[in-house]
Amino acid sequence: MLYSDKVMDHFEHPRNVGSLPGANAVGQVGNPKCGDIMKMYLNIDEDGVITDVKFQTFGCGSAIATSSMATEMIKGKTIQQAMELTNAAVAEALDGLPAYKMHCSVLAEEAIKAALADYYRRRGEAVPENLRLPCGGEEHGCCSCGA
């Protein structure tokens, strides 16, 4: 099969889909041109713990599955822990992705980072270096960087 059972499970039954009206951290990455856009909504409490998370994704099966898995992996975690989530970890948690789909897991990692960057910005704090996206912005191009 193209995708592992876990990918298919998260694709068919995505966890944490939707928007979070009161979110204090929102990030969107991707580009309609590339066919995938991911938006992450986080609620982060005073202790820096992610208490709630939702996502919206326009994209392929692995984009949806990685979004879903990533939300599960950061829910209840601290900012610090979420910051350290790598795309490889998301892909691994899904029992792997086809090589040419690995860029989607990058997108999930980046969507979280974009949301965390937003969190710092909203608070008027400096955005940590490791939250800077490779292509210098939220709307990075999948075709040039992601693949």
Binding site: Q28, P32, K33, G35, I37, Q56, F58, C60, I64, H103
Partner: protein, 399 residues
């Protein structure tokens, strides 16, 4: 077949029972090598020649103008590379080929390969319905144009091209004309005379024949140099031990398809139009391809705010086999070159769906698809950050 609805007949088809029955004896009983001298081989040869004649008759050709290949891809490769080599044998090592932006990759990638070797290639644009303009073809002709290659019908959006008009232009300018008729043969009337074609590709598995067998029609007295060298089969034009069962199966399937062409074409067109009618009612949804001149079985769409692969996988979960653009390119990141060529923005081209119908599809199948597709489209749109669920419209400004 009750397990699921197969709506990817433009991708491949099941072998017809007629074709299977025709082929079966050639596997373990009539397995003789047609190139051998003994009766057992000569009988296979005679059957092979009967198949050749049957196939020729189905496209208005003479038997000696049909050369068997391993499929549409080989036929397309051979047509282009063969013409280029023919020219090289006449001392012309460069030249110009006219084709279209919406050809199958078997054609386009071969043309690109020739381009790298110094050939000039013009990829004509198409209009928003996917039509090549015969006037554009004529305008593109240069003194060194050696070949015009325009497909008969497109595999992604079903548009049927004005092949006969393009053929007439080619003839007028004494330029060889090839058509990739892989999607046309067995589905719409094909006549090499009326179309004025010199070369025509076909592939058996698109009309319920076996996979891995096809043919190239080569108008006499054109002597196309071989692509595959060897033992000299197919009058020295295509070497390799003949795939007798494959060819027999192809002939049986094609005869059957052509005999049923009119009735089945009408039946499929009606099913197709129900699909088109039902699905284009969805908001921000368009039919792709020509609403009039289109393959009987092919309904193709784009849904804004939906990504094609996700759509396919959800349809699959509901037991519907469909395709998004060309089957072969579904592993690629870029949206289909055909959808871009008809002027769709990338973002929208990603949301394509092709439902291609065939012999086993029924009214009930269409009903099931008319129920499933809108559900999945709505579901995916609702989880999309670029769709306004309340307003039922996309939030994006595309390109």
């Amino acid at each position: 077949m009750s397990r699921f609805i197969y709506a990817d007949h433009a991708g491949t088809t099941a072998l017809s029972q007629t074709a299977l029955a025709a082929m079966t004896p050639y596997f373990t009983e009539q397995y003789g090598n047609p190139s051998s001298l003994y009766r057992f081989g000569q009988e296979a040869k005679a059957d092979l020649e009967r198949a050749r004649a049957d196939i020729a008759a189905c496209i208005g050709a003479k038997p000696e103008e049909i050369f068997f290949t391993s499929g549409g891809t080989e036929a397309d490769n051979w047509a282009l590379k063969g013409v280029v080599e023919l020219m090289a044998l006449k001392g012309k090592t460069t030249g110009h080929i006219i084709t279209s932006a919406i050809e199958h990759h078997a054609l386009l990638h071969t043309a690109q390969h020739l381009e790298k070797q110094g050939y000039a290639v013009t990829c004509l644009p198409v209009d928003e319905l996917g039509r090549v303009s015969p006037a554009d073809v004529e305008a593109a002709i240069r003194p060194d144009t050696v070949l015009i290659s325009i497909m008969a019908a497109n595999n992604e959006i079903g548009t049927i091209q004005p092949v006969a008009e393009i053929g007439a232009i080619a003839r007028k300018h004494k330029i060889l004309f090839h058509t990739d008729a892989v999607q046309a043969v067995g589905h719409i009337p094909v006549d090499v005379e009326a179309w004025n074609v010199d070369l025509l590709s076909l592939s058996a598995h698109k009309f319920q024949g076996p996979k891995g067998v096809g043919a190239l029609y080569v108008r006499r007295p054109l002597r196309l140099p071989p692509l595959l060298h060897g033992g000299g089969q197919e009058k020295g034009r295509r070497s390799g031990t003949e795939n007798v069962p494959g060819v027999i199966g192809m002939a049986a399937a094609l005869k059957e398809a052509v005999a049923q062409l009119e009735a089945e074409g009408a039946r499929l067109s009606a099913l197709r139009d129900r699909l088109i009618d039902g699905l284009t009612r969805l908001p921000y949804t368009r039919l792709t391809g020509d609403p009039e001149n289109r393959l009987p079985g092919t309904a193709s769409f784009v849904f804004e705010g939906v990504e094609g692969e996700a759509l396919l996988l959800h349809l699959d979960a509901r037991g519907i086999c469909a395709s998004s653009g060309s089957a072969c390119s579904s592993a690629s990141l870029d949206p289909s070159h055909v959808l871009l060529a008809i002027g769709l923005p990338h973002a929208i081209a990603h949301g394509s769906l092709r439902l291609s119908l065939g012999a086993d599809n029924t009214d009930a199948d269409v009903n099931a698809m008319l129920a499933a597709v809108p559900e999945v489209v709505a579901y995916l749109r609702n989880m999309s950050p670029v769709w306004d669920a309340a307003e039922q419209k996309p939030t994006w400004v595309v390109e």
